[in-house]
């Protein structure tokens, strides 16, 4: 795994936080919540892929 996925997820996190604050200030709380949920789901998909990769490597290395 390289470091660019880390940068990608940090970027998504910052973007979601900014959008969330802008929409909250504009009085659109429902859209802000939807955006934060969407960002979380996108990041979760990426992280789940990495987790399954780690589990596979551990399973093959340690013979589980």
């Amino acid at each position: 795994m390289s470091i660019d996925i880390l940068f990608k997820i940090a970027g998504i996190g910052i973007l979601v936080a900014v959008l969330n604050q802008v929409l909250s200030k504009a009085g659109r709380e429902d859209q802000a919540m939807l955006i934060s949920i969407t960002g979380l789901v996108i990041v979760l998909m990426m992280v789940v892929k990495e987790i399954s990769g780690l589990f596979d490597t551990v399973r093959t290395t340690f013979g589980l």
Binding site: M1, I3, G13, V16, I51, G53, L54, V58, F62, L64
Partner: protein, 130 residues
Amino acid sequence: MNNLDIFKILAFALVALVLILIVEKNNKEMGVLLILLASIGILVGVFSSIKEVITILKKLADGAGINSKYLSIIIKVTGIAYLVEIVKNVCVDAGNSSLATKVELAGKLSIAILTIPLITNVISLVEGLV
């Protein structure tokens, strides 16, 4: 693993730390996911050297005439311990220590089940002596 790799991993950890600090301020869940991802990245980075150590251990055990069944149990326990430790630490970092305790309990139980054959072997050995 040579010297260059450890420097790479240290730099990775520092960059990840800064990113986590930035993101965590505004977006707590994303920070937890970043912590998880960074720990996975470091562990995947050291896996080639873990493989080397395991092959050397297997060679040593073969030379010493130890049953390879016992060594494979030890290696399995090490793998379970690594995974449980990662998940437990993520739970603690996310501020949910009760879930972390349960994860630890599950890991301990699975390790106990793996080591039961060894324990029964020891007991039958003692019985044979008496």
